[in-house]
């Protein structure tokens, strides 16, 4: 017997209760209905409350957040942020049309496009969603926002539209199912809450372990 068949047979034998149809029906129902469990109240409320919760929670985990009125304000805000951190006005980004459409040179930003190979100081991504409950940004892999930009640059700047802000993880799952179809996902879904960190040496918390040392979120009211 193959390892697979033997393992499944051992489990079946231990679970055998005579009525497999009921068990199968329970599994099918759960996968079909994807019931929501307990959703914390923290991320709920009207749009204003959700924005406030998102900003609070993101800052609690050492991300910085700036709000801008429209997409046109994004390049200037990113330039301001890079200057404030004494960083050069260069950045790498994917082919996301929401980012490509902006006038970066007007803000004196030098932009290169494509995945990161580890030699970029600053990366810019557009988030798929933000989650108020924990101040988390959700990013999807693809040429528009390559996953390497989320991890290799020292400084990661994430643009998030306020209309993409949801209260909780479950609402982010719903949006993913809507976009990709049930049971389907892009190769990588990154849920990011603050910059990289480690407490492996004497339990002392340090930022910038292997991933970005800084995470800056630009929240666009639009």
């Amino acid at each position: 017997m193959s390892a697979r068949d033997e393992i499944l047979a051992t489990i079946r034998q231990a679970l055998h209760q005579g009525d497999d149809a009921t068990r199968r029906a329970a599994v099918e129902a759960r996968l079909r209905n994807t019931p929501r469990g307990i959703v914390p109240a923290r991320g709920q409320g009207d749009r204003g409350q959700q924005v406030a919760t998102f900003v609070d929670e993101a800052q609690r985990v050492q991300a910085s957040v700036t709000q801008v009125a429209t997409a046109q304000d994004i390049p200037a805000e990113i330039a301001r942020y890079l200057r404030s951190q004494n960083l050069p006005l260069t950045a790498r980004m994917g082919s996301d049309p929401r980012l490509s459409a902006l006038d970066w040179s007007a803000a004196q930003l030098e932009i290169t496009q494509g995945r990161s190979n580890g030699d970029d100081l600053n990366g810019i991504s557009h988030a798929f969603a933000g989650i108020a409950e924990t101040g988390t940004v959700c990013l999807l892999s693809g040429a528009a926002n390559p996953t390497t930009l989320n991890f290799l640059p020292d400084n990661h700047i994430v643009v998030l539209n306020q209309s993409d802000l949801v209260g909780d993880l479950e609402s982010a799952w719903s949006r993913l199912r809507q976009l990709y179809g049930k049971g389907q996902l892009p190769r990588t879904v990154n849920l990011i809450s603050g910059p990289s960190r480690s407490a492996d040496i004497e339990q002392q918390l340090l930022l910038g372990a292997h991933g970005p040392r800084r995470l800056h979120i630009v929240l666009v009211t639009d």
Binding site: I7, A14, R30, L31, T134, L185, R187, R197, L206
Partner: protein
């Protein structure tokens, strides 16, 4: 290939640990930090206890339908372009992984933190096959340099102090300037970051564990803080996930329920910095990500636990809260336990996976204070399960003759009320008289093991039963 244990020498290990000044200093970090952080994270979320109940219910549901969810999970992985390999034993799991590495002509393998890879002894297998295996979690990297195993399931180097890490870095990173400053955790981290960055970019294969395997989508989910698990899986051509069977959850919604209690119970974070959902290999049009995606599902004794009195242990989500709150772990650290999994969860799991003959000492390494059960996010009755192992050990005549004789004698006395009353009525006044001066005994015949580390309070006069009767059987 699975890791060799020193569990039968638990008593010697513990004795040694208690006299290890470096270790005792480092263990202070466990006692002081983890407990407080978990408590404040739990207090900040009013729904925390309800979420623990929810997490337990999900895990129980999965275990009752595990065969069906495994089939569905496998079908979904395949539909997304990945491949699933089942492994009955540690050896089979290592063989599968080494075969995948060889098929891709690999020379260098990077690894994210994975306890099941420790369990199966994966690094040794990869190295024996002529490839380099590099641990990339900072704590794991440090202990790999030292040739050690993790002493904690989420903080593998928690037994070390920064001076020890400096010594190791100076010993191994000999290409760096000798006069560099490595006195601070910051400089140590920065040096490791630089060295491991090159390893990430040069690796042929990336191996990660999984916190969840999602049947709905065929995805694996890892939760990490450093980002090493992500660099491990997105840069090489091949991503291999190694995970044990019970990591399955039905849906993303179920994963969300458990994620809400996992990080809070572990480090006191609301959520880890990176929660990453990986599904299959890169898609057409993607510019990064692995070209191949394999999952190696490890049984290694778990399927036999289903339907047994130890089934509840399979709910474990590896948060480490039980060891963070354990007075025995606080005193001796993780290495004394002698195998992969320390603390209360290890005391239950180790005999299940390597046998009670080898691991039977561990269920005895508990005061049964119950803190582990009280903080367990999935309500595993750890003291009860340890008691089951003690019973099995006794049934199988595995404990020493003197201990067995003593237990038998005690059982006889406890079951015969007259004998019990007679003996206590004689013993209590004598002990009370003998101890009348100091109120305590620092030595007692036949109880040297007990009084070696603490004093026995002297009885105050009447026995409990006499007092109970005098009060007419009332509590006050």
């Amino acid at each position: 290939m699975s890791l060799h244990s020193t569990t039968p020498q638990f008593k010697d290990n513990a004795h040694h640990a208690l006299h290890d000044a470096q270790l005792q200093k480092a263990l202070g970090n466990v006692r002081n930090n983890f407990v407080e952080r978990r408590a404040s994270a739990a207090a900040r979320l009013p729904e925390f206890d309800a979420l623990r109940d929810s997490a337990r219910a999900i895990k129980d549901h999965v275990l009752a339908h595990l065969d069906l969810y495994l089939e569905r999970y496998e079908a979904q992985v395949v539909a997304q372009g990945g491949k699933v390999h089942f492994a009955r034993s540690a050896q089979e799991a290592c063989d599968e992984i080494v075969a995948i590495c060889k098929a891709h002509g690999a020379k260098s393998v990077t690894k994210g933190k994975s306890m099941v890879s420790e369990e199966i002894g994966l690094n040794a297998a990869i190295e024996a096959a002529g490839m380099e295996a590099v641990e990339t979690d900072l704590g794991e990297y440090i202990i790999q340099l030292r040739g050690e195993t993790p002493s904690h399931i989420i903080a593998p180097a928690v037994h070390l102090n920064k001076e020890q890490v400096e010594e190791d870095f100076r010993r191994v990173h000999t290409h760096l300037p000798i006069d560099r400053d490595l006195t601070q955790p910051e400089t140590l981290l920065s040096e490791a970051r630089g060295i491991l960055r090159a390893k990430f970019l040069g690796a042929d294969i990336g191996i990660t564990g999984a916190n969840f395997l999602v049947a709905e989508t065929g995805s694996s989910i890892i939760v990490t803080n450093e980002g090493n698990g992500d660099l491990t899986q997105i840069l090489p051509r091949v991503h291999i996930v190694v995970a044990s069977l019970e990591k399955i959850v039905p849906t993303l919604d179920d994963a969300a329920q458990i994620m809400r209690v996992l990080a809070r119970s572990a480090t006191g974070q609301d959520m880890t910095v990176y929660s990453t959902i990986s599904t299959g290999p890169r898609r057409p049009g993607d510019v990064d990500g692995p070209e191949h995606y394999h999952v190696v599902l490890v049984d290694n004794g778990r399927s036999r636990m289903i339907g047994s009195e130890f089934e509840e242990m399979l709910r474990c989500i590896r948060c480490g809260a039980c060891m963070n709150h354990c007075p025995v772990y606080h005193a001796v650290g993780g290495h004394a336990y002698g195998w992969v999994y320390p603390g209360p969860m290890g005391a239950v799991l180790t005999p299940s996976l390597i046998g009670v003959e080898e691991g039977g000492q561990l269920p005895n390494a508990s005061t049964f204070c119950g803190r582990c059960e009280s903080v367990c996010p999935v309500h595993i009755p750890l003291p009860k399960l340890m008691r089951h192992w003690r019973e099995r050990e006794f049934e199988r005549h595995l404990n020493p003759a003197l201990q067995r004789y003593g237990l038998r004698l005690w059982a006889f006395i406890a079951r015969h009320e007259l004998v019990y009353r007679l003996l206590t009525a004689i013993a209590m006044p004598i002990l009370a008289w003998l101890g009348r001066k100091s109120g305590r005994f620092s030595h007692l015949p036949l109880a040297g093991g007990w009084t070696q580390y603490r004093d026995m309070p002297a009885p105050q006069g009447k026995t409990f039963q006499e007092q109970w009767r005098a009060k007419g059987g009332r509590c006050s």
